[in-house]
Symmetry: D2
Subunit: 409 residues, 4 copies
């Protein structure tokens, strides 16, 4: 059985939809591309795709075989290089890679040089065109991004293009006065004030009416000016920072302690990862973005200022794409007795992220089709720092998504 | 601040309420007794008591300082013996024990010989009166239990007595024809057919209009005949098998895998415990009851007949009251990548159970006061095998309890 | 660099040596065959081979490129089937398999039908010739094994053939009177008394002057009659039960507690494995053999009759060749404080065993060349139940092996 | 049986011996004091004391009931305060504390104000006399320490006084030119150059012919000038940094990987601790000393420059004296297969250290009695950074200690 067939019946026939991946040569995009190929050929089951099971399955989402891939990247590494690492690590199989050469080539033909984020000068295998693009005026950057998106849409006769940001975490940027509303931001652009690359992508997409999904902790569309832009234009967007592994587990365990009135004394988490994302996170400026989200989710659920929390991230090259995390939770129960829970999570970060990227782009496409602009609050369960705020409790977030789905059937 | 004061305002002034513990000399009852004393004196915080936080706190539950303790037990061990083990293990502090001598003595004065369950002949420090009581006709057993309850209520001028079964797990009993409805069961009693002790207690309580909580995997009030009796008499009851530790964690983690469409391949759990309950579970007849509930909750949530599950229970004397469990979960993600999560839970079983006993008896008392008879379906989140069935997903169970509370404010 | 070149200088030029694997189609043999091919081609490093580092490296052992493989097996599964499972599990790479087709075919051409062990009737993909062979008289079985070995030696012009038993664990057999000395055993054979297959192999090999290595917990050459035979004939042999994973870790940790005078209260170990060996161990008769050795090593080192130990083995199909074990150790320190150590071991059983098989066959070959007959006591560090007895402390066993090596340089 | 009686026979009757603890009010000293009292009264077994089992037991060491305790400390906290924390944490029992009031008072009467180490200004509950003492000239500091030791020896008619440094880790100090030999050091003292407190204690002790044990990572007697002084004066000394927990486990596991030719790719260790030592280690200057030793031991055993190692230490207040460490080891086996071992250690740091302090002081006393001056190389197994260098392999270190013992019987 072709697992992507069944939901057609709820959806009027339309043209194909574009999935534009910022960070197109990275491990997540590679998993998206080969996963899609495997799903279409029937060699893979849709494991990990929440949009392929209830309550989302019946929503009339864009069929997976109508997606067309393209994207930006700042490096020149070929997709084949990314796959060999993933095959060796047991994430992709050689069969899948061999069987999808054509699809991979088609995707690669649609990858354009991205914008190098200012602080990232010095990266290995950098595309010189990206370095160049990183140095031009922000208005020019925006124009270039928009032109790439438009060309992609036209060439592939796409009904819609969804932009998903899956590039490595950017260096942390403090809030800026110029971000507080759209007018100030436009003025800053006019004045040539350099912006984080993720913000340029988001602005370029939203301003052109294209939905934007920020799967990273980078600023993206989260600054007030862009939230305003999306609301004004009625363009759906969501983010930030995909909740794929350790934080996911945290946000299901923490509510349990809360519900039982158990007093968490300490929650210490150590993350190790070895892929390019991990390498980037070695830099403390980049790590800052990540750690904030991980800690915040927990503290928000536990709601006890006295709890001691700590999060560590270490780059461990031999782990490659396999994120391994150990969390230690000490808690007090009745009578003051001190107890503990510890867990070790070992998962392929990219294989966990890729299906969520597909889920989110399909939900963004649905929202756009239905004219639902602004922050997609129902997608909170996918993010460590959901744009619309709200609870971090995964169970409650997921129940919200379920309610959204039921209302739209 | 006395933590038990604040909820008085929602409740009209009434007399004290009795908490009758079947298994009164065991570790859970000991923790209940000393915990109550510590809460009253203000030396303990109400950690672990869900009825002391929202959404239950505002329900007008019986104040903790209006509870009076009594109970049945089949052994003669003094409470002091139970405490010394718990103090050595760091569950109780010596200060708490020293400060509650008077309350402990009052409780001990209200403990009556219980009914020895048939297969348990040969237990150490058995009360000879319990052995005797185990051998008389079921009708006579029921009369004796009812007489004890009535005497307790009268002597202490109790508005109501809630019976909570916290004795060690009984040997597993297959379904019986005579349990299928009340008439058959009454006939069996008339015919002198021996019954599990937990069933006798439940029948005695419910038939006398006293709410019954079965915190153990033993049959208790779960047989159809007694469900019928409770419905007919409008007496609230609930059970079975308190969800205190490893199973609690399982029922918050399993829904996460489900929601994310991740395919659990294997869920293997190993439990070690060293207290009297663990010793009883060494016997495979007794272990059977426990293992069924642990495995069933998981399989029900994962809803995948192909998943491989396994549960082990080992008696490890040196752990005493400290249940230590290791769970290993292997799952498949997108692209067929195999990942794992493992956790180690280390908690004092009795300190985890005791506050739930208090929560449940207060909820049972509330239900009785409000005239809500039959199975207390809103208490499903407290049990491994909830009497009313329904989901095993802890988050959803807890949301149900929240809804119940909000409707009753 | 070819890693197998360097030790030639210590060894006079000789002919090739045969490695005869009983269980030739199993995962260990598959790893041996492909590993050897990879080492020869230089695509693999000699990781895991103790004979390739000091103090063993300089002993003049048979070079790895002079080994010729053959063996017995009772099933008909092709090597290719074994490899596909190992490739999927990340143990073998497809490149290695593709590059060694020729060597694999050569090995497969030298595999002969083995003897089905009595209790194993009903196995899947059984070679009917093995079933037949399992039913003939023991004398005839011995003749058939010897004929196979002789034909192999002759066809490949081998200087020597080392028989290594790596078949799945046999059903446990109690000690027998007929095993107590060689004469009794010969009489039993004459009388047609059926013997465990491992005993037949060992008798056939040793009686023909061929060294025998028992890598399994099966009886093999450990019965007194065969120890006598090996001594009398001056044939080296060793066993039982390769110390590859969890037990290896146990036998380095336990001496630490001993040296520090810490009092181990409980050592509970849980093993999960999913390969054919695991499937065989599901049968309690087969598991018995394994559990004895695992527990015995520990109890012997701790030397405290009061210690509580437990060992579990569970068959978990999704783990395939990946043995995962969790050990929990609770110990008492100074002042009676109770502490714990827990570890999780996750290793490919076959990839751990294969290099030890090569190490042991090379050491057996060396012993034979030097005329050292009888039990190879210096190999104790390789076994869970070393034939020559002695300490189970891995560090001390390894120091013994070092002394052996230094004396022979 | 009184466990401390039996070794008298090997030892001629002598006077009592003094154990002078630098850091006398800390948790280790508290455990030493109460542990000694419990051993003398027979309420404790000598668990954790290597000098109470073979091969050390028969050496004629000073009997535990002939030890007299005294020491220095820079804070004013009473021993009772230290005990209440340890009782609450389950390290000490209240019974033991209650039964040893007299011994504790006697010890406390022998505690003198210590020397505040320069960088430690600002410590809580600081003894103002220590702050003062930290500011005087190094020569004056030395005189004060010597006077305290002499007074203690005289008042208690001690045959000998062993100084053991168990104070919190000092801030890390780089090597200094003035430490390279005794003459330079004496000149620096004359010139009034401030010295780390641990160096002053070591100099004061060794120069007065009193053995010195440095249980901490602070410099102590490890600087070349003091090694020279000890050699010249024939005074035994040893250090640095007691190997009590996680590092102990590391140095038994790492040799296993080495012996099996397994290639460790990554060894990442995370330590959490909550006592005063942990608080001090929060300061990065102090942590530096500790981390060096932990990492160095491992790298030295693995002897592979390519291995990735990492060590973290976090201060987690709720753990109090319970050090909890998680180590993750990823290694490559045969065929390049990637495997892992992870362990969690949970132990009371002070209860682990205290018996080693007793072992070391007894061995130092024995060395002094036998006229064995200089570095006590046979004590390497007790230290993370043994003064005499040599292997870090615990098994081999312990075998050395065994040889030392056997030669002296």
């Amino acid at each position: 059985m072709n697992p992507v067939e069944s939901e057609h019946h709820n959806r009027p026939r339309q043209g194909p939809v574009g999935l534009w991946l910022v960070g197109a040569r990275g491990a997540i995009s590679t998993c998206v591309a080969y996963g899609l190929a495997g799903l279409r050929s029937g060699s893979l089951e849709p494991v990990g795709l929440a949009t392929e099971i209830e309550p989302l399955r019946g929503l009339g989402l864009v069929p997976l075989d109508e997606l067309v891939l393209g994207g930006h990247d700042v490096c020149t590494r070929s997709l084949t290089d990314s796959t060999s690492e993933l095959v060796r690590g047991g994430v992709l199989t050689q069969e899948l890679v061999d069987g999808a050469r054509e699809e991979a080539a088609a995707f690669e033909a649609c990858i354009r040089p991205g914008i190098l984020d200012g602080p990232d000068v010095g990266l290995a295998d950098l595309d010189p065109r990206s370095a160049e693009l990183g140095a031009v005026s922000p208005r020019e950057q925006v124009e270039r991004v928009r032109a790439d998106l438009a060309a992609f849409a036209e060439a592939n006769e796409l009904e819609r293009v969804i932009v998903v940001h899956v590039a490595s975490t950017e260096a942390w940027r403090e809030e800026r006065e110029e971000w507080r509303d759209l007018a100030s931001f436009e003025a800053a652009l006019d004045a040539g004030a350099p912006q984080p690359a993720s913000v340029i992508y988001a602005y370029a997409a939203l301003g052109a009416g294209r939905p934007f999904v920020n799967f990273t902790p980078s600023r993206g569309s989260s600054i007030p000016a862009l939230v305003e832009l999306a609301d004004a234009g009625g363009v759906p967007h969501c983010g930030n920072d995909g909740k794929t592994g350790e934080t996911l587990v945290k946000t299901v365990l923490a509510p349990m302690f809360r519900a039982r009135a158990l007093k968490v004394l300490t929650w210490q988490g150590y993350n190790m990862l070895g892929n390019r994302d991990g390498e980037v996170l070695k830099e403390s400026a980049h790590r800052e973005s990540k750690l904030r989200n991980k800690d915040e989710a927990l503290r928000s659920i536990l709601a006890d200022p006295a709890v001691h929390t700590g999060v560590g991230i270490d780059f461990v090259p031999s782990l490659e794409d396999w994120k391994t995390a150990w969390d230690f939770i000490q808690f007090e129960g009745f009578l003051g007795a001190r107890m503990s829970l510890q867990f070790t999570w070992s998962g392929s970060d990219s294989a966990l992220a890729a299906p969520l990227v597909l889920d989110l782009m399909r939900l963004a496409d649905l929202a756009a089709e239905r004219g639902e602009g602004g922050v997609m609050e129902h997608t909170a369960c996918f993010f460590k720092a959901p744009l619309g705020g709200g609870t971090h409790d995964f169970g409650r977030q997921f129940a919200e998504l379920g309610r959204y789905a039921l209302e739209r059937r």
